[in-house]
């Protein structure tokens, strides 16, 4: 169980300030997530399929996925994960700054477990991260953890 709790949240995010903002909030809110960040789609897939530099990478608890990525895009990652028998159950939370209907609906159609809008202002971002934490780590049950909430 303790090992499982150390499993990281995989953050797929090309924007440094966005990644830093999230990490600052995790620290600020004293959240117990180890964050593993990759900055492009290629690396994200390598990590998830344990290839190349990530052969020994632990399976994440959940994935925070930006849609607009250089190279392999968020949609493609989502589609690849949901088509894979082993990775399909891994919760993927899209974390995007797009409110476009096409993006939101498209992500759900591809199997996203949730779609969150990423606000620019730190104060608003803090609310979103708190809510995210509360739901996924206190309320929801994650796969492979025996039905216990993590909190």
């Amino acid at each position: 169980m303790m090992d499982e709790l150390k499993r990281p949240v995989l953050l797929v995010e090309d924007s440094d300030p966005d990644a830093e903002a999230l990490q600052r909030l995790v620290r600020k809110l004293s959240l117990s997530w180890p964050i593993m960040r990759v900055a492009d789609g290629e690396s994200a897939l390598d990590y998830l399929f344990q290839r190349g530099a990530y052969v020994d990478a632990p399976r994440p608890m959940l994935v925070l996925l930006d849609l607009h990525l250089p190279g392999v895009g968020g949609r493609e990652i989502l589609a690849t994960l949901k088509a894979d028998a082993h990775l399909r159950s891994l919760p993927v939370i899209v974390f995007s700054n797009s409110k476009r209907v096409e993006d939101v609906d498209g992500a759900y159609e591809l199997g996203a477990n949730s779609y969150l809008f990423k606000p620019s202002r730190l104060e608003e971002l803090e609310d979103v991260v708190s809510a995210l934490h509360h739901f996924w780590f206190n309320v929801a049950r994650l796969p492979g953890l025996g039905g216990l909430p993590l909190g």
Binding site: S15, P17, D18, E20, A21, H68, N97, S120, R121, L122
Partner: protein, 746 residues
């Protein structure tokens, strides 16, 4: 040519039974006999002068009583043929006649005219030459008809020979003339269709040649005057000697005409012209000469028909050439279609033989040649959009009769031919033709005064021209099937070009979307970064930089956020123009309630009372887009408030039946929705500018800092629906934004 007069007289003319006048002209005799006993049943009253026996002595007698046996044999043979027509040489009572045989009312009818000198072999050859030479000499239809006029005059000896053509179903024109210099010229004169009554036309088709040898002669009655079996006179439709209607005789007498002859020009069995001959004194044209004239008329008709077919083919080829040339240039040109088209005005006009044209391609009309004004053409386009087209074309020779405003510009546009380019949008190519009287050259003698007197006004060519002018007032030359074919052809080609343009546009729209999306994203990201790093700085070192430093950092963050917002708005605005509306029945009340829920935080925050006086209707619109419009208007209304006043916003509608101050209602038949507030109001000079993109009236920080895109987007969405969005407001008086939804889809 019977003259036109009053409507009453015309009607009388049409009804006059000119084939049942029961008399013949005195320069010959007529006998009618039954078959097969060949017994005389009807004779003309002048028969004694020719055969030496009184009518009563002849009636009931066999033909053999007075016919030379050779002539009787000729006649019997002619009667046995299927269609006994033609000229027979008849000898009777020691005189030689030219006999013309036909059947009528169950009797064989024989016209007898005295032979006036033998033509002889030499004379016959001269006649053949006179018949054939016009056909070989003349170049072109008009020249040919001129030659024909000359030849007929030579053959017949008339003082004046005119060739009169029916230019269309409603008027005719004298196109060729040969005359003694002492005679008036009628060349170029136009005559209304009513000049030749319907039943006269029918006779012109049946008897292609008609001679009135003496216009002053009294007709000779028939004996008996009435056929006992039928109770009416013998039908003389087929008789060359048939007497003349008194009306026509009066006409001839008033014109000073002593003898006349007309020869029909027929094409495919229909009358299309006449050779009309006049002589000052009586003139007995020998049967041989008449026959020669008739043959000449037939040959000319054939020749003209073949020339006309060739001309039509050449005309079609010429128009095809215009079109090919036009398409080549349009495809090659780098300019926009309207600009390219306007450079090819000659081809566009030449295509349909028009004097003016207008292109309505969605933007301002492009005019070429002689046309109504820009505003008149715009209004005409709106009218055309409501007309039903035969396929894709619409045409009229009398625009003023179907579209009243056109009466102001009949001089350039009595005739209109239009093709519709797009079934869903009012896009047309329109061609114009002027009033026909303006295209006709006066060729008679317009200054010659009208002779007054009983029945004379209608006999005068000048009066006839005036009558014709009245007939064709407000009409253009007719659009031929070639014109319409050419117009439809141009449409086909243009639609092809337009489709190619549209395909290119769609492609570039998609590219633009991708480009806009990329730009928006790539520019937004750094701006987000700026905002976030500023936030980090404020958190980490905010205390250390002091209040002035914090203010500056806040301002940097605000500016970055604002720029990002502008970018999003611009991107959205660029997409609005190209969205496809998704029409459906929508409950406006539900939409409004939904919007109010979403903007409720703002409304509560500003302590605004929301009023919805009555339930809103259900009607057709794109629910999502109209949601956006209400949302924009309500957010706006919540924003600009006057300090210290209790605030309210009202959302409602006005039905088509309810009164509404001008100019609020733009269309008479639609609902007008509104959002009214008691806010700061807007000065009238800004009533339009507030709808411009990024146009703000207040400092960026004031009133919650709108980005100036909301109203622009809302108006575009409403315009997409075909409706209108406008404002009524005055400073300190609050504002009312109105909108309508247009006609609905399609």
């Amino acid at each position: 040519m019977n003259p036109p007069v009053s409507q009453t007289e015309l009607t009388e003319c049409d009804r006059e039974p000119i084939h049942l006048l029961g008399g013949i002209q005195p320069h010959g005799a007529l006998v009618a006999f039954s078959e097969p006993d060949l017994t005389l049943r009807v004779v003309s009253a002048n028969i004694e002068a020719w055969l030496g026996r009184a009518p009563q002595a002849l009636l009931g007698q066999p033909l053999a009583e007075f016919l030379h046996p050779t002539s009787l044999a000729l006649l019997t043979r002619a009667l046995s043929q299927h269609a006994p027509v033609g000229t027979l040489r008849i000898e009777a009572a020691g005189h030689a006649f030219v006999g013309l045989l036909h059947r009528s009312d169950g009797l064989a009818v024989l016209d007898l005219e005295p032979v006036t000198g033998d033509v002889g072999e030499e004379g016959a050859l001269v006649m053949v030459d006179q018949i054939l030479s016009p056909l070989t000499r003349a170049k072109g239809p008009r020249a040919l008809l001129q030659e024909v006029a000359g030849a007929v005059r030579t053959l017949s000896g008339f003082d004046r020979v005119m060739v009169y053509l029916f230019d269309s179903d409603w008027h005719g024109e004298v196109v060729a003339e040969s005359r003694d210099p002492a005679m008036d010229s009628f060349l170029g004169l136009h005559f209304p269709a009513s000049d030749i009554p319907v039943q006269a036309r029918a006779l012109y088709v049946r008897n292609t040649l008609r001679l009135i040898a003496d216009a002053r002669a009294r007709p000779v009655p028939l004996v008996p005057a009435v056929l006992p079996e039928l109770g009416r006179p013998l039908d003389l439709s087929g008789a060359a000697l048939r007497s003349v209607s008194p009306v026509h005789l009066e006409y001839l007498a008033n014109m000073g005409v002593g003898a006349s002859m007309s020869i029909s020009l027929l094409r495919e069995g229909a009358l299309w012209g006449l050779i009309a001959c006049h002589h000052r004194t009586p003139l007995k044209v020998p049967a041989a000469a008449r026959r020669a004239c008739d043959v000449l008329a037939r040959l000319v008709s054939l020749q003209l028909a073949s020339e006309e077919r060739a001309a039509t083919a050449a005309e079609l080829a010429r128009r095809a050439q215009f079109q090919t040339q036009l398409m080549e240039r349009l495809s090659a040109g780098s300019s926009s279609l309207p600009v390219s088209l306007s450079r090819e005005a000659d081809s566009v006009l030449g295509l349909t033989g028009s004097t003016g044209a207008a292109l309505l391609l969605g933007e301002a009309p492009i005019l070429m040649g002689a046309t109504p004004t820009l505003d008149e053409v715009k209004a005409l386009g709106e009218w055309l959009a409501r007309q039903s087209f035969e396929g894709t074309t619409f045409h009229t020779e009398r625009l003023g009769q179907v579209y009243e405003p056109a009466q102001a510009y009949l001089d350039v546009a009595s005739g209109l031919l239009a093709v519709r380019l797009d079934p869903s949008a009012p896009r047309f190519v329109i061609w114009f033709r002027p009033e026909v009287t303006r295209t006709v050259t006066w060729a008679g003698n317009p200054s010659k005064p009208v002779v007054q007197g009983p029945g004379t006004q209608r006999l005068h060519p000048r009066a006839s021209f005036v009558a014709w002018q009245e007939t064709v007032q407000g009409a253009s030359l007719p659009w031929t099937s070639e014109d319409r074919t050419a117009a439809a052809g141009l449409r086909g080609a243009l639609v092809g070009v337009l489709l190619r343009h549209a395909a290119a546009l769609t492609r570039s729209n998609a590219e633009l979307d991708a480009f806009g999306g990329t730009v928006a994203h790539d520019l937004k990201e750094p701006l987000r970064g700026i905002q976030q790093y500023v936030s980090f700085l404020l958190e980490d070192v905010g205390e250390a930089v002091g209040s002035e430093g914090r203010k500056q950092l806040e301002e940097v963050r605000w500016l970055a956020g604002r720029t990002q917002g502008q970018m999003e708005a611009l991107f959205e605005y660029s997409r609005v123009g190209r969205v496809e509306l998704s029409w459906g029945q929508a409950d406006m009340q539900e939409i409004l309630e939904d919007v109010l829920t979403i903007v409720s935080s703002r409304i509560h925050e500003n302590q605004i009372e929301v009023r919805v006086p009555r339930r809103l209707p259900v009607l057709a619109c794109d629910r999502v887009r109209i949601h956006q419009v209400w949302s924009n208007l309500l957010t706006n209304a919540a924003k600009y408030h006057q300090a210290g006043k209790p605030r309210w916003v009202e959302a409602g509608f006005i039905t088509p039946e309810e009164p509404l101050s001008n100019p609020a209602r733009r269309r008479a038949d639609e609902y007008v929705f509104y959002v009214r507030d008691n806010g700061i109001g807007i000065s009238e000079r800004f009533h339009e500018t507030i709808f411009e993109m990024f146009r703000r009236l207040h400092p960026a920080h004031a009133y919650g800092g709108g980005n100036g895109a909301g109203l622009a987007i809302a108006r575009r969405l409403i315009q997409l629906h075909g409706g209108d969005l406008w404002v009524e407001s005055a400073p300190g008086q609050g504002s009312t934004f109105y909108f309508t939804l247009g006609k609905g889809p399609g």
